[in-house]
Amino acid sequence: MLLRHTPKEITERKALMINPAKTCQPIGAMYAALGIKGCLPHSHGSQGCCAYHRSTLTRHYKEPISAATSSFTEGASVFGGQANLVQAIDNIFTVYNPEVIAVHTTCLSETIGDDLPQIFDKAKKDKKVPEGKTLLGAPTPSYVGSHVTGFSNMVKAMAALAQPGEHKNGKINIIPGWVEPSDMEEIKRLADLVGAKTTMFPDTSGVLNGPMTGEYKMFPEGGTPIAEIKDSGNATGTLALGEWCSADAARLLDTKCKVPCSILDMPFGLQATDRFIDALRTIAGTSVPEEISVERGKLVDMITDMHQYVYGKKVALVGDPDQVIAMTEFLVSIDMCPVHIITGTPGKKFEKRIKELTKDMDCEVNVKAKGDMFLLHQWIKNEPVDLLIGNTYCKYIARDEDVPFVRWGFPILDRQGHQHFPTVCYKGGLRLLEQMLGVLLDRKDRDDEESKFELVL
């Protein structure tokens, strides 16, 4: 047993978090910033934060992750980080020459009260910011919310760059939320097919799923150009995918630039994708091409063809709120039973929404926001499941409890594919279904007694 000291008996914990299902804000801000074209994320804190975030993102993507740090020393921590950040900005533009520096704070710089706007002004006054280059900053105190909050805050900081103009640009803003580069690519592909003109930010496709060519580009082709982000203030409207990841930015565009918005679920699974596509075509005033209906039909086809193998299967699910909500709806829609549901991110809304989505399911549902994987594991010990869905850390539970396991979420540190193959929308639904069926049927093939072993499934 890898987690041999985890007791079945559940005792309440008020102060101790064990095996978290979340991490801290800055890494989310760093990931979001990588979705801006020519942007170098910068961590305003001691250099360990930056090292940890870069390492984790690198392991997840098997790609280089560039980001700089203010390298706080004890002195800076006492007297404030302004000098460090101004010097950093100077060095970064001189040595790496990015279009944009996206600064996020840390528990350290937040605790000592560094004020980014004021430091940015200083840097500009000191002529450290070359003509046409952009600085943006997001406060991301590690002791509030989670990595999802940090992502949201950085996306909100992007939205803050938007300027209201005289005339609308006829485009729809799509804020995709924290999904994979492959997912962002897929969302763009579908939006194009629908015939909607869109601005999507952030967009990490082409940045974190890059090719091997013999050249290293610190700033690859991908990412949303800063000009487009600024122009998002002139859009017809904003579709924000995911309350936790994308709503704040969308609402800021509304209040600041009068760009109306709508908060949708992330398009995982059949229904959430239906709502997303339907919203797109309604706003764009276009009709959905047959190609999309066919993709949809293929997903429905696999659902009906393989229904017997997923029907009534119990699932334990852990991940980030927006993803888990959409996945829960998908699982319920194909007659699976998500019985243990955890997100590490705080938010009562989460538990409420999950309860709604599962209310017609005829089994007990354990759900907790701000929960951890230690609790999830204990739930599983008390009520075993047929399938576990979550990030790589879940494999310790999967091996100990011998549960079929599908890797989905962040981080995935030990398998490939997530950066290249989308799990959003209809094609993503096919992939998710293929993967769930794969592990469920592998288990059946492993455990069936010889007299029951089946060739055809």
Binding site: M17, G45, N91, T94, S142
Partner: protein
């Protein structure tokens, strides 16, 4: 790839220039002191500046003090609960990411390594203080796990808001009675790199744990192995060899360690130091307080392993041990030689760069030498001047603001436990026979002249070095891996070993030969260009069947 690059010629001065030319003057001046050409100057050896602040905005390989303390030193201790006091991130990132292998469970010890524990500080804790929460968390950990010991780690905000974690630890230790609780003030902003964290960690272990074991170790040839972290099972391989030789490794700092092993360290008769950087002060303290001499060893490289075993045997000086060591070496070397014979023709003449840690950038050159590969550039991520130039320079090191903040503990001979293992005469005799105590010459002497030595190498310089010197292999850490490989140069992680290893000892050496052979000779790095990129012209007419 190798072929092409073996012809690459360079002038080290020219390279240094190129590395510096892009920097703002101030930065250039600073970096110039940390980039050194390994060459003889008139009757002086060149100096290098090390263990100094990283320049803000320069993309560094370095981590923080917390990483050095919690991640490197305390992470490997399997039966001590590591409880991180701070926002969730710091404990999350140190969760199972260091490949701390342990078989402690085999001797009935607990294994908490797969667990990540944190007080998950919230804003209210920042405002009103986190001591209460820390106390509650320690209580909950104790109630659920009943561990022998709980180690508490401070992250950046803790120092700033003034939580007294040591007092909390003391209180809880007294409350429990059967559980040692101690804390580390390893805030990330302290020092200039992980190195400070190693120091803080070792000091606390020495203060709170060493000497705390009741049970007396009675085996022969008892040693401590200091500065070995069992990455990829290195420690398992070294212990395998020790067992075979009849040498008893009482306590490794800190690979595959347990509370009781730390606690028994004072009972060894010799300290063998692997990673000089992270541990030499512990070796000194063990000598001062308990009378245990120390020698520098290196188990990276088959030759180095044999040499280190002989040194240990020489120290104990008993023929029985000396013979047994020779027998073991005789048994182990044929496999090594056979492997070298196999790979040498494919690896000889290839070039490598190594930029890691506080000792590996030095130790691994042994393995490359055995493969006929030349290390053309190297440097440490968090080394000090003595790691480059040898301990001789220690007296001349000046203590700057950053190192001043790192506690230096001063120990004296323990009234009961101090017992000199060798008389001054014996020591003198051994030294006369060539066994050097407390001796480390550093990296520089072992590197060819005109090689380029860079301290705290950064992203920009790494890319430039590869572009200019075109090595066949680059060695660093995970953050560097893929930017280097994008350039078409295979990259080997020498922190995590890319989930490979062990590379220490005899079997480890063979593993390493094969791994490097795979990397520098694989065809997969020859696929970078598509046919239409190699012959882009459109004119070509197609040849039908």
């Amino acid at each position: 790839m190798g072929k092409a690059q073996k012809m690459v010629q360079w002038d080290p001065h020219n390279i240094k220039e190129k590395l510096l030319e892009i920097y703002p003057p101030k930065v250039a001046r600073k970096r110039a002191k940390q980039i050194m050409i390994n060459e003889a100057l008139e009757n002086t050896t060149p100096e290098i500046v090390a263990n100094v602040r990283t320049i803000p905005g320069i993309i560094t390989m370095r981590g923080c003090t917390y990483a050095g303390c919690k991640g490197v030193i305390m992470g490997p201790a399997s039966d001590i609960i590591n409880l991180v006091h701070g926002p969730i991130g710091c404990s999350f990132y140190a969760w199972l990411t260091r490949r701390n292998q342990t078989d402690g469970i085999n001797e009935g010890n607990e294994n908490y390594i797969p667990y990540c524990m944190s007080t998950d500080m919230q804003d209210s804790d920042i405002i009103f203080g986190g001591e209460k929460k820390l106390e509650a968390a320690i209580q909950e950990a104790y109630d659920i796990f009943h561990p022998k010991a709980i180690a508490v780690f401070a992250t950046c905000p803790v120092g700033l808001i003034g939580d007294d974690i040591h007092q909390v630890a003391k209180t809880m230790k007294e409350k429990f009675g059967d559980c040692n609780v101690f804390a580390f003030s390893c805030e990330g902003y302290k020092g200039v790199s992980q190195s400070a964290g190693h120091h803080i960690a070792n000091n606390q272990v020495f203060t709170h744990v060493v000497g705390d074991s009741k049970e007396e170790k009675t085996d022969k040839y008892k040693i401590n192995l200091l500065g070995e972290y069992n990455i990829g099972g290195d420690g398992f391989e070294i212990d395998r060899i020790f067992d075979k030789c009849g040498i008893t490794n009482i306590s490794t700092f800190s690979g595959n360690s347990t509370y009781d092993k730390f606690a028994s360290a004072n009972q060894a008769d010799l300290s063998a130091v692997m990673c000089h950087r992270s541990i030499n002060y512990v070796a000194d303290m063990l000598e001062t307080k308990y009378g245990i001499p120390w020698i520098k060893v290196n188990f990276i490289g088959a030759g180095a392993t044999a040499k280190s075993l002989r040194k240990i045997a020489q120290y104990f000086g008993e023929q029985e041990l000396i013979d047994r060591v020779e027998k073991v070496i005789a048994e182990e070397m044929p496999l090594v030689d056979a492997s070298i014979k196999d790979i040498f023709p494919r690896t000889t003449g290839k070039t490598a760069m190594i930029f890691v840690g506080g000792s590996r950038a030095h130790h691994y050159q042994e393995l490359f030498n055995e493969m006929g590969m030349k290390t053309i550039s190297a440097g440490y991520e968090f080394g000090h001047r003595d790691d480059y130039e040898g301990r001789a320079v220690i007296p001349s090191l000046k203590v700057d603001a950053d190192s001043r903040n790192i506690e230096e503990i001063h120990v004296e001979a323990d009234p009961e436990l101090y017992k000199p293992r060798k008389s001054p005469e014996e020591i003198a005799a051994l030294e006369k026979d060539g066994l050097a105590f407390k001796a480390y010459e550093g990296l520089n002497p072992d590197m060819d002249s005109d090689t380029v030595i860079v301290d705290d190498l950064n992203q920009y310089e790494a890319e430039k070095l590869v572009e200019l010197m075109k090595p066949d292999l680059f060695c660093a850490g995970i953050k560097e891996k893929y930017s280097i490989q994008k350039l078409g140069v295979p990259m080997k992680q020498l922190h995590s070993y890319d989930s490979g290893g062990p590379y220490a000892g005899f079997k480890g050496a063979v593993n390493f030969y094969q791994e490097i052979d795979r990397l520098v000779n694989s065809k997969v790095f020859s696929y970078l260009k598509a046919p239409w990129q190699e012959q882009p012209e459109l004119s070509a007419t197609y040849v039908w069947e």
